[in-house]
Subunit: 337 residues, 2 copies
């Protein structure tokens, strides 16, 4: 049962809309964003989420605000608010800066969007060789079409491998606190007709021990020059578990996710989000409302725990200290595409 991919971000005739991902899987609702408040809130509340999708949405948002705001000061302040709406991923700042530096902002945002779709296709092609027939896979969080406003990164590669005849089966971590795995990844996999099984995050270890897992593949929010990778909370632990079980651990991320100015993951800021995310889900409380909470939204996985990184330029392998700087010399994104 394959349906058309969901569109995370849509721009047409001056109208910017986003899929409100907080409502999935119960509702597929497109919402219009007109003002800087609406754009910033959509990003901060994770109505739009996934590093590449945020980049595409921020790019359109800034282009839209350029037309809406006549004062340069007001526009510049608004653009900075969009640029800084989330701190960990590098795509948002990169996309906003690119739009700001362009002559036709709308055209530039559209180019970024088209490039993302091409990049995702190329990542999926590059990843194909990593999947054995009947591959049993663990993934974490959501890296599907709705996370990139394209075909998806890690989940896009999984879906493409299945369409290429590999017959994959996916164990999906629910991904607390916001349950992107349960709400979004399961939804996208079933929509694509792929066998998908949900589990709690802490079942990943026994799954690796007993369920014949062939590989783990997931996305990234920022990658340093040495391969250290910031991604959704839980990624670092999965990488340690994978190493312990001798299971390959892959990251799929476009070149724009690499921060070539950062020598290691030590410098990547880790966003800590609000305690209510952990104390509750969808309004249902677990702990008391004053419970102190530790809620880092991301962690940093050392490069030495990552088997390989899939990019639109092919598979990047250790030693990352050489292969990642080499990637820096390739033109970014769509300049080539």
């Amino acid at each position: 049962m394959q349906s058309a991919a969901l569109e995370a971000v849509r721009y047409s005739g001056g109208v910017l809309e986003y899929l409100d991902q907080r409502l999935l899987p119960q509702q597929e609702r497109m919402v219009r964003a007109r003002t800087v408040d609406e754009i910033e809130t959509a990003i901060k509340t994770l109505a739009v989420r996934g590093a590449p999708a945020i980049g595409v949405f921020g790019a359109y948002g800034v282009a839209l605000l350029r037309d809406a705001l006549t004062s340069d000061n007001e526009f510049n302040a608004a653009a900075q608010r969009v640029r800084n709406a989330r701190p960990t991923a590098v795509n948002l700042a990169w996309a906003v800066d690119r739009v700001l530096a362009s002559h036709d902002m709308v055209a530039e945002a559209e180019t970024i969007h088209r490039e993302q779709q091409t990049i995702d296709l190329r990542m999926a092609e590059a990843a194909l060789e990593l999947f054995p027939m009947n591959a049993r896979i663990i993934t974490h969080c959501n890296t599907g079409p709705i996370a990139t406003a394209g075909g998806g990164s890690a989940l896009g590669a999984i879906i493409a491998a299945d369409r290429a005849g590999k017959r994959v089966s996916v164990y999906v971590n629910e991904t607390r606190p916001l349950l992107q795995g349960a709400r979004l990844t399961i939804y996208e996999l079933h929509r694509a007709g792929i066998e998908a099984t949900l589990m709690v995050d802490s079942a990943a270890a026994i799954a690796m021990q007993r369920q014949k897992i062939d590989l783990i593949i997931l996305g990234a929010d920022r990658i340093a020059r040495n391969g250290d990778t910031a991604n959704k909370i839980g990624t670092y632990g999965l990488a340690i578990l994978a190493a312990h079980h001798g299971i390959p651990f892959y990251v799929a991320a476009p070149r724009s996710t690499f921060d070539f100015h950062m020598n290691s993951g030590a410098g990547i800021p880790i966003e800590e989000r609000h305690a209510t995310e952990v104390r509750e889900f969808a309004g249902a409380a677990s702990a008391g409302e004053k419970t102190p909470v530790y809620n880092p939204a991301f962690d940093v996985t050392p490069g030495h725990l990552i088997t390989a990184i899939v990019t639109e330029y092919g598979i990047v392998r250790p030693p990352y200290g050489e292969s990642i700087p080499a990637l820096a010399d390739r033109p970014n994104a769509g300049v080539l595409l």
Copy 2:
């Protein structure tokens, strides 16, 4: 702010009551159990939970049913239903068998209960040397007074260490799917006036990396002769993470949790529970209602990942192949107490 400990199980004058732990932390409600259906359901639905508390409750339950059921056949069938209400923990079957073999079943159940309280005190005394001053601890699931119908095992040891002046600080895994950490452990720690911080299970790795964790301590449902330990899902992964970070990983469990007939963890049955536990969070749906789910309630941690096991007879250390069989020679529980 220290309050009286919660009572998980209470028996007096022929009336058996249990604290319905599903209602915590919102409500502290004692519920009466009269029939085999009510006793079995309380165990199966986790209204009463924690291996030792289930043992105490099952012991009283069987003693109560002996008085209620005049037919021997009916009583024997009822006792077997109680004995088999949950398969992984060894305490329930052990306590029921002990009551069945006794002449005064009520007195035997009361002895088991009193013994549990003494055992918990001795475990806490034995564990004290494992806690440095200002110890920063990770724990998982709930092993407090309400889990044992006594002082608690691992969480009892943490509380006792704090009362002995160690000033502990505890990072509590929320423990999906049933959130015993968020609902019960946070509640018991705050009730005991101890600093406790809640986190999602998949934040444990970054906490070990960045929050100066001194030790991990948690309970067990069954321990084999070689130290392999069945415990709440997530324990095995935590043990791998602890080894990776060089952090001591302790299990606290009474002698009755050891299965001296089982040579390794390979033979321990792993209960798989219903998919709805994972598809929902505290009653709020996450994934769609037909989503396939992998929901093992326990995992088995190899003995070589466990630094030491705290028992009422002191600290049991590797090589477990020698120290655990030696423990088998000690009298079980209260024969000594």
